[in-house]
């Protein structure tokens, strides 16, 4: 029963009421008063002011004056004040050291612990050396309460002065605490060690068999929080073999029954991670069975916990669908669930839906589609579409449910339904076109670009089956100028399709649309596409037919699937924020003391974000000339690489640390998988040799005809590249089944520069179109550009110019990262950089940081963007910190990546 505390001494609110003038003076007098209660009241007033955000740092000495007291309440308040203002008065804080040291020897363990705890919180470097002595005593204190507080204090100290911790041997003592008799001490020791391991990147945990046994023993005895610390550190351990894994799992499984959801989640994490090591089918089956009920139980807890559980379950069902295959009905939404829970439940339902339960699921989804929350309704409707795309047998049922919903005439339901029906058409071509008539009845309800674009795509694609396709398009064309660009593009394409199918009736219309697109529009995409169609139609209508009306690859439902590697990473991150954001930790964790320019837009992390992966389809992604898919689409067919968030791995190793004289090599990645290019597989990369830039192509001909001559055209890019010669002649031709390579010379010209929108990063891709002159087929790809390929040989700056420029660039225009190196020799790096036209400017040791050196570099691209870089090395560490500063902020991240590659 909650008992009301006695209100002895009145309430604290009176301390907030002083607003008079001369208040500070009065407080000061009171703080020096001999009367204890006056003193206590004065300190309380100070703290009250601090709470409401007033600056009371001017009373520092006066408050400090009260520290010598045996009143524990007063002491706590003074300590609290110290923690808050120590940083502003580091010198004066030293005056408190004596009291701390004295308190750390107090006979009362609560006071000893209080002193150690507070000292650790005072983040003033000078105080750290005084802290070591009491800390090492406290770590061996006879009282467990002091020891457990001291354990955390080591982590605090490590945060300020890691070297001190290592020098004083605190890590070893901390490690010994894992064997402590008291479970709370063990738990805090584990927590502190795990944190140090994470920040330092060293394995200070060193879980051995005996440590493991101790952790498992402590697991049964310590508090719920301690259990979480221990389980989380167990999850990072790799068992020696399947038997050991099984043994640990056995000890961890009972935790699934704990009332605290954090304990349950962490236990799930350990079990899932260890399951990979278990090969016995029986054990796996048992574990699968045991994991389901606790996960479902989490859905009965508070909504926030449900949210955490659902985001994790989303990952778990992708990795191990068996666990919850029979539990789909638990994920059905309750009418009064918070919206964020409902949205996540829908995601899980879609992952779990199968032929056995699709009937039930469709009934649910249909029900949700009539609820009030617009976002939820939309997602429900689109989920019906996703069911259809996922399950061929259920597609017909799904379509009929969608048609029923369209009858409701609710504006957003109709629009969402049109969008998904377009996708269903793409998935099952020539199967469900009978519903077009119903769709056409609802044209007037469409007012959103995506829905309009989808409808127009359908009209264009199936023009021959719609009697009045031209009239329908005509109605859309009336408002052509006002439409969203995506709708305009669709209208253009649909009209051309219509024309190709029925030239007589639509001759006039297509002429008008092409005019509008090429002459009246400011949108370069629209204009370019208009010109392409125009030329195609005027030169070779048959080729136009082949291009525009070509077969489209069938799409799959992969909107929500994560890449297997990413999924594995995330599974190992179950029960962390990583599993909530569905992004690897390095994407969002920024270390405390590193100022980072974050380009991550906050919105990327919201739950509305469909693309859970760290891949942002770049807005200027490959332009979909053939118009595969409608507006925004689910097509996984475009052969582009994902260019988003830090896909640096694509490049793997670069110039390979060889001698600088060696011929530069270039890392190529597959850009074209042959599905659209008539079987030509292309790997592409960029490099610079003797000052000339080239695009290196490796071709593998899996098609039917030999490759003799190709024509290449590059789209405008952020790098201003154009081929010196558009014809690629292969002599001898590449026979079917054979492969060859070609080096396309490139020039950098301002005409080919596409401007980068202010505030956004330059898209790292170069888009190319290739026409095979043997059969006139055209295909497109996008290749990731490596910025070092256009580093100009005249990028060196003199020192003064460098310093001035460096100072002139605002600190917010910096990008940082840390990169692992293959060598610890700074000279080797400088040499590698020099061969890549990155010039050393200066080199000096870091003052006060023995063993650290910084080297400054500059470089310039042929497009006249210059970059300044600072590399920080630490002796004996095979890594360095790269910091790039540039006024060309859009390119800074690319330059940093270029440097990372060159350094490796």
């Amino acid at each position: 029963m909650p008992s009301k505390p006695k209100t002895a001494g009145g309430s604290d609110s009176r301390f907030f009421t002083t607003q008079k003038k001369g208040e500070t003076h009065e407080l000061r007098t009171d703080l020096h008063s001999n009367d204890r209660s006056t003193k206590v009241d004065a300190v309380k007033k100070v703290i009250a002011s601090m709470t409401v955000g007033k600056d009371v740092s001017m009373l520092f000495t006066d408050v400090l004056n009260c520290i010598q007291t045996d009143n524990i309440e007063l002491k706590k308040l003074v300590y609290l004040y110290l923690i808050n203002y120590a940083k502003s008065q580091p010198e004066l804080t030293l005056l408190a050291v004596n009291t701390f040291v004295k308190d750390a020897n107090d006979p009362n363990p609560l006071i000893r612990a209080l002193a150690v705890r507070t000292m650790g919180c005072i983040r003033v470097e000078k105080i750290t050396e005084y802290l070591c002595e009491p800390l090492s005593r406290s770590l061996r204190d006879e009282d467990p309460y002091v020891r457990k507080t001291a354990a955390v204090c080591v982590a605090k100290l490590y945060d300020i002065a890691p070297d001190l911790v290592e020098d004083r041997g605190f890590l070893e003592i901390l490690h010994d605490l894992i064997s402590d008799a008291n479970p709370s001490v063990v738990a805090n020791g584990v927590a502190a060690l795990s944190e140090i391991a994470e920040t330092s990147g060293k394995d200070v945990m060193k879980i051995s068999t005996s440590v493991l046994q101790k952790l498992l023993a402590a697991l049964n005895e310590c508090t719920e929080w301690g259990q979480v610390f221990i389980l989380d550190s167990l999850s990072k351990y790799t068992p020696a073999d399947g038997r050991e894994a099984e043994g640990i799992i056995e000890r961890v499984t009972p935790r699934l029954q704990h009332a605290n959801s954090a304990v349950v989640m962490s236990a799930v994490k350990v079990i899932l991670n260890y399951m990979n090591m278990i090969t016995t089918e029986d054990t796996l089956r048992t574990l699968t069975r045991k994991l389901a009920p606790p996960l479902v139980t989490l859905l009965n807890s508070e909504p926030e916990t449900q949210y955490v559980a659902l985001r994790n379950i989303n990952l778990i069902v992708q990795k191990r669908p068996q666990i919850l295959e029979n539990a789909i009905h638990f994920f059905f939404c309750k009418y009064n669930d918070p919206i964020y829970v409902k949205m996540e439940k829908l995601e899980v339902i879609i992952k779990l839906v199968g032929e056995r339960n699709v009937e039930q699921v469709l009934l649910e989804l249909k029900e949700y589609a009539t609820e009030v929350d617009v976002d939820f309704v939309r997602k429900s409707v689109s989920s019906i579409g996703r069911c259809a795309i996922k399950l061929e047998k259920a597609a017909e049922r799904c379509i009929s449910v969608l048609l029923e919903l369209i009858q409701s005439k609710v504006n957003y339901v109709v629009q969402e339904a049109v969008v998904v029906i377009k996708d269903i058409f793409r998935r099952y071509p020539n199967k469900y076109e009978s519903v077009i008539a119903t769709l056409c009845e609802n044209l007037e309800t469409l007012d959103e670009p995506e829905a309009k674009a989808s409808m127009i795509w359908i009209i264009g694609e199936y023009a021959e089956r719609i009697d009045n396709a031209d009239e329908l398009l005509e109605t859309f064309l009336e408002t052509f100028e006002e439409e969203d660009p995506s709708v305009q593009l669709q209208l253009l394409t649909a009209t051309v399709k219509c024309f190709l199918k029925a030239p007589e009736e639509t001759q006039e219309m297509v002429q008008r649309v092409l005019d509008m697109a090429t002459e009246e529009s400011d949108n370069p995409d629209l204009r370019d596409r208009g010109f392409v169609y125009w030329r195609l139609l005027s030169t070779d209508p048959e080729a136009a037919k082949a291009v525009v009306l070509s077969e489209k690859p069938v799409i799959e439902d992969d909107t929500s699937k994560l890449e297997p590697e990413l999924l594995d990473t995330l599974i190992s991150q179950i029960a962390t924020l990583s599993s909530i954001y569905h992004k690897p930790p390095e994407v969002f964790v920024t270390r405390a003391n590193i100022r980072t320019v974050t380009e991550d837009d906050v919105d990327d992390y919201e739950y509305e974000d469909e693309n859970d992966v760290g891949v942002q389809p770049s807005a200027d992604g490959p332009v979909d000339l053939l118009d595969i898919g409608g507006g925004g689409d689910m097509n996984g067919s475009a052969p582009q690489q994902n260019n988003g968030g830090g896909d640096v791995d694509l490049f793997g190793l670069d110039t390979g640390g060889g001698a600088p004289a060696a011929r530069p090599t270039c890392v190529k990645t597959q850009v074209c998988d042959g599905s659209q290019s008539g079987g030509i597989i292309i790997n592409c990369g960029f490099m610079q040799t003797n000052g000339s830039v080239s695009m290196e192509l490796d071709l593998q001909n899996n098609g039917q005809i030999p490759v003799t001559t190709l024509a290449i055209q590059l789209n405008k890019s952020a790098f201003g590249l154009a081929p010196t010669n558009q014809q690629l002649v292969f002599s001898p031709p590449i026979a079917p089944g054979a492969s060859g390579s070609y080096s396309v010379g490139l020039t950098v010209t301002p005409n080919m520069m596409s401007p980068v929108a202010p505030g956004s990063a330059a898209p790292p891709t170069v888009q190319a179109a290739i026409k095979n002159l043997s059969n006139n087929s055209v295909f497109y790809f996008a290749a990731n550009f490596t910025l070092e390929s256009i580093f100009s040989p005249d990028g060196a700056l003199d020192r003064t110019a460098f310093i001035n420029t460096w100072k002139g660039i605002d600190d917010t225009k910096e990008v940082y990262s840390t990169v692992q190196l293959t060598t610890s020799s700074i000279e080797a790096i400088i040499q590698k950089f020099a061969s890549a036209s990155i010039f050393q400017i200066a080199r000096r040791p870091v003052p006060n940081q023995p063993g650290q050196e910084v080297v400054y570099f500059s470089c310039k691209t042929m497009t006249q963007h210059s970059f300044l870089a600072e590399l920080t090395f630490k002796e004996g560490v095979m890594a360095c910190k790269i910091c790039v500063k540039s006024e060309a902020t859009a390119y800074a991240a690319l330059a940093k990546e270029a440097l990372e590659r060159c350094a490796k």
Binding site: G9, L110, S184, E221, V308, T598
Partner: protein, 428 residues
Amino acid sequence: MISMLYLMNTKGDIVISRQYRDDVSASSTESFRQKIVAAKEASTSAPIRILDSSTFIFTRHLNIYFVAVTRSNVNPSLVLEYLYQKIRVLQAYLGEKFTEDKVRNNFTLLYELFDETIDFGYPQNTSIDVLKMYINLGKQRQKIAEDQGSLTSQITGAIDWRREGIRHKRNEVYIDVLESVNLLLSATGSVLRQEVTGSVMMNTKLTGMPECKFGLNDKLVVEKDKNSANAGKSGVSIDDCTFHRCVSLGRFDADRTITFIPPDGEFELMKYRVTDNINLPFRIIAAIQEDGQTRVSINVKCTATFSEKLFASSVTLKIPVPNNTAKCKIKCTMGRAKYVPEESSIVFRLKRFQGQSECMLAADVTLMPLVRAKAWSRPPLSLDFSVPMFTASGVHVRFLKVFDKSGYTTNRWVRYITKSGSSYCIRI
């Protein structure tokens, strides 16, 4: 780990805050204020958000947001559980429905609790009983000064939820088995989802450090006992259960016996979940028909299926009607029913509902004509009730054994109650 904790009211003012690490700045609260509180997104936004590269994890108690800020890859469940626990601790100190003013009026206590329950962002001791032993409105109890030794071993001990040397004149245990039934019926009357979540609440007044053994008619246990007196009785198959941390999970995992040394006073011993063979206490048949654009006719029959010796109390049936309802003519066989425009529903209340009885309601709803006809979304009909001495799952307490060195006898009282869960709905 947690870098900062603060309490913020719905206006966006910080009530109290405590920073544990300096990787977040005090000003980071501003982005939360602007993007969540001021944007009125708090109720729809996911409870974990990244704003300006710090993660905010939050929950709400009445008009106060409890917010944790971090920049590392923390365990979100840990943070949330800590926040819940923190609210419970404050409820124990300041009263069940503590307000912003209550918090402000006790800020010294709050700071003490902030420091004692968390250190450098790591949750520490949050056990209310133990906290109360040494944190008491800023005033340390004098007598504790004498035996800090036992106090600290209490704080850090294996059994940190109970202190030694508790005495009670009469040794008593009160057991409440509370069940909530969640139900979703389709419009055709088929069960889409049904689930009972139960919780066993205990109030113990026991002397010393007693070890207790507790048993429900859990199918797995009952079937094992085939040879004993229980033979022939069938148990309830429990899908899953979770336990208070005093329960030895190892023992339960090994042989499903529930053994524990209880905290003194009230606590939740266990929670369980049952989905099979549920006895739904009410059967509802609803016929709601829309006659053209302006009329809806409603007929609802509700039957209590439990034994006639029992009765349900505070039964409330909410029958949705369209938003544009003009008037309702309602007839019911018992209880009271009226149209509540704010909720767009007819609320039908019965103070007492005898088992095996039934009631009917018929309503004639007239609608205002609308300029733009829009289909009625027909939200589900929902039911609230509580039935004492009845368990929908069929769970009952088989035994509670208390062993203590002194061998005293214990009086036990067991109560059962079944309530409607968060959603007991019938689609119409």
